[in-house]
């Protein structure tokens, strides 16, 4: 491992909210018991229609694929446990809209523990295409929170990347899933790094980790033996775990607005994704579970759980001893970027890194928003160095051109501005609404331009057809006129006489044939 002291760049802005991480790190990762029912979401990127390969009533075994890969841009989902498919319908899942998404509900069979794994690969000898195909077949998506299909991210990174960044920062309060993973399973995370290095042929791998995780840092350093790997300890600050921000801290590179990190030669993955990749390649395991932090003051025993996808949140809360009288809010994700869950019967998905069961005392409900006093505290903390105050005014009055000119599209929605706002204005919601408005507007413009083109082509085609018809008509009229007028009368008579003659000849021929047939009988 490279022991040279790494150069660090500092993150502009950022905040230091209370960490609340020690509560869930008091014990090892617990394996959550198999729930009686698993609600597995099969949502595809951009809400495309999934192509199911199971029906209601089918018996599925652990690791069986539930959806077929839709070209190469789909995300596979597998049955996390053996059982019977009892329903395939829309179910509420942890999402911002609260709208149901298509889920496959499996009534689990605890007696059937066979796992239909994929073939184990000897990865140093495997080709890049094989490895990427394996990652796709295992249904691996970004476990850091975005949930983007990993095989797509890797496809776009081939032959473009010189630095691999592994995100072990985990800067948001309460969340300790990656920390726990590193404390206990750092070896396989490092294996995942090696596989990623092999796929991307990158020159080096920087593992960024915050300094508030001493045990995890030690575990990582212990297992990093390759010279290309370097564990870089960064100061704890929110949001240093955001992709572009972490890249800036580790490499000093600023990813240009509107581009991805891969275009600047850097590929970033979460340590959980690296772990999943290692399990998929070395052991042939599909992505069926993840580490989820279950924390909050309403729980008797906050801990990290290894949870099967589709496990209801209520089961986890029960394992951790939730006190419903104290429970004020249930969050999926952290207190800054998470969403509030309406109830606990929602399933854990591939991107659920944390569930916070909080009390009114620990995380008080946000007070009603007041008027903006133009104090500028939001500007001080923005990690992307935007002007949140101006963006707020533009988003509120729907002045989208000005919002875009102030780089609204670069906002990472980290919530640092809303955290410091003395008027408790839900700033991030305004930005999300404005971004959606801008997207809708540009969508509409594109479609209008395209429709105009099509209309013009349609008009040309109709005009062309009309012109052709007119020409044909004109030619026919000219041809009729060209024939001599006198011959017209006699030729008509001749035609009629000739036709009559033909009919009579036909009749005569038929009677001769009939006569011949009678003779032959």
């Amino acid at each position: 491992m490279n022991n040279a002291l790494p150069k660090l760049w500092s993150l502009p802005g950022g905040i230091h909210p209370p960490e609340n991480k020690s509560q869930s790190l008091s014990g090892p990762i617990r394996v959550a018991a198999l729930p009686p029912q698993l609600i597995v979401p099969v949502t595809q990127p951009d809400y495309a229609t999934p192509q199911l390969c199971v029906q209601v009533g089918d018996r599925v075994h652990k690791g069986q694929a539930l959806v077929r890969a839709a070209q190469s841009s789909g995300l596979l989902a597998h049955a996390p446990a053996a059982g019977v498919v009892s329903a395939i319908a829309g179910y509420p899942v942890p999402n911002a809209s609260g709208l149901p998404e298509l889920c496959v509900v499996i009534d689990t069979d605890p007696t059937d523990t066979r796992w239909a794994k994929l073939k184990a690969l000897d990865y140093p000898g495997a080709g890049i295409d094989t490895l990427i195909e394996r990652i796709a077949d295992a249904g691996i998506s970004g476990l850091g929170g975005a949930g983007f299909p990993t095989q797509l991210k890797l496809h776009s990174a081939l032959q473009q990347v010189d630095t691999l960044v592994l995100n072990a920062a985990e800067c948001e309060p309460f969340i300790t899933a990656d920390t726990a993973l590193l404390c206990e399973r750092a070896a396989e995370v490092v294996t995942g790094c090696m596989i990623l290095l092999q796929i991307t042929v990158a020159a080096r791998c920087l593992i960024g980790i915050e300094d508030n995780k001493p045990q995890a840092i030690a575990a990582l350093q212990q297992h990093c033996s390759d010279a290309r790997l370097q564990v870089v300890v960064i100061p704890a600050r929110y949001p240093s775990g955001a992709e572009n921000q972490l890249i800036h801290i580790l490499t000093g590179k600023e990813i240009p607005s509107g581009t991805l990190a891969v275009h600047s030669g850097i590929l970033c993955h979460n340590v959980g994704t690296a772990y999943a990749i290692a399990r998929a390649v070395v052991h042939g395991e599909q992505l069926l579970s993840r580490i989820t932090t279950v924390s909050g003051a309403a729980l008797r025993e906050p801990a990290n759980y290894e949870v099967l996808t589709g496990t209801p949140v209520a089961a986890l809360l029960q394992h951790s001893g939730v006190d419903h009288t104290q429970l004020s809010r249930l969050l999926c994700g952290g207190p800054l970027m998470g969403i509030e869950l309406p109830h606990a019967q929602l399933p854990v998905t591939k991107t659920t890194n944390c569930v916070v069961a909080t009390t009114e005392a620990e995380l008080p409900s946000p007070p009603p928003a007041q008027a903006c006093i133009r104090c500028g505290l939001c500007v001080d903390v923005c990690p992307v160095q935007l002007l949140p105050q101006q963006l707020y005014w533009f988003a509120r009055s729907k002045e989208y051109t000005k919002a875009q000119a102030h780089n609204l599209q670069d906002c990472i929605e980290c919530g640092a501005c809303a955290y410091v706002c003395p008027s408790h204005i839900p700033l991030v919601q305004y930005y999300r609404n404005a971004k959606a408005g801008i997207r809708e507007q540009s969508d509409k413009h594109q479609r209008a331009d395209y429709a105009k083109q099509r209309f013009e082509v349609h008009q040309q085609r109709v005009a062309l057809v009309q012109a052709q018809n007119d020409q044909r008509r004109a030619e026919r009229a000219a041809a009729v006129k060209a024939q001599p007028a006198a011959a017209a009368g006699t030729s008509a008579q001749d035609a009629i006489t000739a036709a009559l003659a033909r009919v009579q000849a036909k009749k005569a021929a038929q009677s001769i044939d009939a006569g011949k047939q009678d003779d032959s009988k």
Binding site: A369, Q429, A436, R454, H458, R461
Partner: protein
């Protein structure tokens, strides 16, 4: 009074009249020249207005297409007649022309989510009337052959529904609820107590 004295008494009156006349003639000539030199052909404003319209060519505004409506707007017509464009288009037109944005004129239609046409194939008789009606050639098919709508090309203009003799075309929403959803704008803060009562956005 002699002619000379008449003239000399009238001179103070004549001089300004003559001078003003001369000035008027001079400036009139100048302006006339400028008018020919800077003559404006056509109306470039029409193209700018047309670029803001949704190009569905549906005719709900009362004009036979988006370009004729754009011409009407450029000549000073109302900007609130386009239902497919909706509030956003009215706001953009108001912004471009410096006029007040009015709510959509309900006599021309109501704003609704984007729709696409869907032909119930079991009932289609292959008459090609809808194909002829479609302004963007989004319907695939020919005489006595099945007709079907190419969803990616359909603008939801509704012009195919009326000509169909067996009424087998439905207009269905183009996007699912999940695809349409976005974060709503939060409630604005109540600035003063009376705002809260009247629900005024200050």
């Amino acid at each position: 009074m002699t002619a000379h004295s008449l003239l000399s008494s009238l001179l103070p009156l004549l001089t300004p009249i003559v001078m003003l006349l001369a000035l008027a003639l001079l400036f009139g000539g100048l302006l006339g020249f400028a008018a020919t030199r800077f003559r404006v052909e056509g109306n470039p404003l029409v193209d700018r207005v047309n670029a803001l319209l949704p190009q569905t060519q549906c005719g709900q505004c009362g004009h036979p297409g988006c370009k004729p409506y754009a011409a009407a707007i450029a000549a000073g017509g109302a900007i609130n007649k386009c239902p497919p464009g909706g509030k956003a288009t009215i706001a953009a037109l108001a912004d471009l022309l410096g006029v007040a944005a009015e709510p959509l004129d309900a006599t021309h239609g109501v704003e609704s989510s984007r729709k696409v046409a869907y032909i119930r194939e079991a009932e289609c008789i292959g008459c090609t009337k809808c194909i002829q009606a479609c302004p963007v050639d989004a319907i695939l098919g020919s005489a006595r052959h099945m007709h079907t709508v190419i969803v990616s090309e359909c603008t939801g203009c509704d012009l195919c529904v009326a000509p169909c003799p067996v009424d087998c075309i439905d207009m269905i929403p183009a996007q699912t609820a999940l695809q349409r959803w976005h974060w709503p704008l939060p409630e604005p803060a109540a600035l003063i107590a009376s705002d809260r009562r009247q629900g005024v956005h200050a």
